[in-house]
């Protein structure tokens, strides 16, 4: 299952031999502490941050360990790729292990483009400083005149300590320093390096490689507790595109329509039994079969879809000038509980700022989609061309009172 916090074992606390009393403070819960994770307030699930704090909030606090987040790509794969990079960058900062698979770009290239974290409390491991010249009046430089009580506190932590914060911010105008990136362990799967004869083999090769990494590095939940636990972050780029050997995006009736869905089923099986979390991007705008997209969505736990305004008429629409695109939450899981935490609002728009990826409820978006989706709904009945998604009519009365 998506790892519940209590079932993963934890090394028993050792009793000090010099205990004068037999009283031991009872640990409140059998919480394992893996850096970069926190338990969910709703059902005790172990959560990791996606790297985008507003997306964490939408998903109910974060991504549950053992689940898959499906991102339906926007038309030019710019923002979905950005979210994937945020996810991997968050893994580097939290010192999780990474697994990146791609068919189009070399995973090393993706890793080199990760955004730089904005860090106040996590230090960059600097090389040993040059010894100061003796003639330099060192004390006068460092001496504080007003806040002299703080003089002796260390200015910067000396090692790359794992940050205790959950969710960080990134500066997309800069790329991550190579020193920080190399501190994290990355496994790459670049499809052209694994030549396969048939289409179905590319997905099974990926599944096999994933299982090997999980077993070898000890992410299996059933594995013995030899060393401290860590999370494996899996980023799979553009599954279902033609480069993976799949004809889902090329034909209306794909020959092997179940190749991707079988892979997602195997991925779910792997994730439920290990301490890992996956983000999968799929070019859904190329897949014409709505029912197939529906079964792909159902086999993933969380699902969001991005629709960017780039290149569309909405880019110049004054209603949307504050945003870069729309974000739709397609699915929210209910794991180990009956009810799922549905998002309060369904009209969300996103904007990629330099230091933050914001997702907001936009009143203008809500009104606009209320007006124009009604028209789309009526148009849909008559035309053969299905819209990219079937918009739900908003009950405007409820939206008003919810505000």
């Amino acid at each position: 299952m998506a790892a519940p916090v209590s079932t993963v074992g934890k090394p028993s606390t050792e009793r000090s031999p010099f205990n004068t009393t037999s009283f031991q403070k009872k640990t409140r819960t059998k919480l394992i502490s893996i850096p970069g994770t926190r338990p969910s307030v709703q059902n005790g699930q172990l959560l990791v941050s996606t790297g985008v704090t507003s997306l964490d909030y939408l998903l109910g606090g974060g991504l549950a360990v053992g689940t898959v987040l499906l991102i339906e790509e926007d038309r030019y794969d710019s923002y979905s790729r950005m979210i994937l990079k945020y996810f991997l960058a968050e893994g580097v900062v939290c010192r999780h292990e990474l697994f990146v698979a791609a068919a189009q770009d070399n995973p090393d290239d993706i890793l080199q483009e990760l955004p730089a974290p904005i860090l106040d409390d996590v230090a960059i491991h600097k090389p040993v400083e040059q010894p100061r010249l003796s003639c330099e009046p060192q004390d006068s430089l460092d001496a504080m005149k007003i806040a002299w009580r703080y003089q002796n506190l260390p200015k910067v932590q000396s090692a790359l300590a794992s940050s205790s914060r959950f969710g960080h911010y990134y500066d997309v105008s800069k790329t991550m320093e190579p020193e920080i990136r190399q501190a994290a362990k990355c496994h790459c799967f670049y499809l052209p390096e694994h030549p396969t004869h048939t289409m179905l083999e590319s997905y099974s090769a990926l599944l096999k490689s994933l299982q090997e990494v999980i077993n070898r590095e000890g992410f299996d939940v059933a594995a013995p507790m030899t060393k401290s636990r860590n999370i494996l972050r899996i980023g799979l780029h553009s599954l279902g595109s033609a480069l993976w050997g799949d004809d889902l995006s090329c034909h209306d009736n794909p020959r092997n329509g179940h190749a991707l869905t079988t892979f997602l089923y195997g991925l779910r099986a792997l994730l439920r039994s290990s301490l890992s979390v996956a983000v999968v991007t799929v070019p859904s705008h190329l897949i014409q079969d709505r029912a197939l997209m529906g079964s792909i969505t159902r086999l993933c736990d969380n699902a969001i879809a991005l629709e960017s305004f780039k290149g569309s008429e909405r880019e110049t629409n004054p209603l949307y000038k504050d945003y870069h695109g729309l974000l739709h939450v397609r699915q929210v899981p209910h794991l180990n509980c009956l009810a799922s935490k549905l998002p309060d609002h369904k009209d969300l728009a996103f904007k990629l700022k330099r230091k933050q990826f914001t997702i907001e409820v936009s009143c203008q978006v809500a009104v606009h989609s209320f007006i124009f989706n009604r028209r789309d709904l009526l148009r849909k009945r008559s035309s053969r061309q299905q819209p990219h998604f079937i918009p739900e009519p908003i009950n405007a009365l409820e939206w008003q009172y919810d505000q």
């Binding site: 519940p4 089923y265 439920r272 079964s295």
Partner: protein
Amino acid sequence: MFTELNSILNTTPDSFTQGDFILLSDRQSDASFLIHHFLSLYLRARCKVWFLGLVQSFNHYSAISQRLGVSLTQAKEKGQLVFLEGLNESLSVLIPREADTGSEAMGFLRDPAVGLKSLYEFVRTSATSSGGGEPEPEEWGPPVLLVDDLSVLLSLGASVGAVLDFSHYCRATVCSQLQGNVVMLARCDGEEEEEDGDDGGSERLLRGLTHQCSLTLHVQGLPTGYCRDIHGQVEVCWRRRRGDGRCTQKKLFQYKVHDKGASFFAPGTSSAVL
């Protein structure tokens, strides 16, 4: 189990009709909360239950059943529950290794064109083996088969005909032969009026299953749109044969899923509205 649903369906753990084929279906919604209701109902009724949990891990069902007051691990130990964890078994088939001794229930994943015979064999052997052999220490009630869910078999490559055959064979074995109940969940994604006939694998499956069953519970979202307090509507349809003709009775309810259950109410009488 959900007490309100019990009163709607006129069932209690002590009295329920046998030989029923109950179909749970949903359209752009999630009907899996109903599976948990039936699982806890039949376990409380001391039936022998076979559960094919194909989409989630055992711990997921166990955690939810705990909240509904039933312990799956205990039921498994006592022999009341036979659980097939599809996810676990499938890994050994999808990533084959040399020393594999897993059961062959998910063997259809290797070559889905063959059909679901191996899955049916699993059901049949475990259902009929409990009849003979050494007497069990405890007497269990009529057998019940629960499947969660059938549509994932379509996603894994099985054809609609194979899945319909599987459900028919299960119904013949469990309902007619052993006088037990079968509950299956089938999920659908498209709109009701789909124009193209090529797609609709799940539609055809749904129609075929609806024809075979005696009770359907169809879950849908609200036609007026998304609402936080009312999660959707359930249409209950009885298709029992009474005398010569079929007597069909339909009822519509709205529901809201809580942490420990679900509440059902007549449309328009939600506590959020009144």
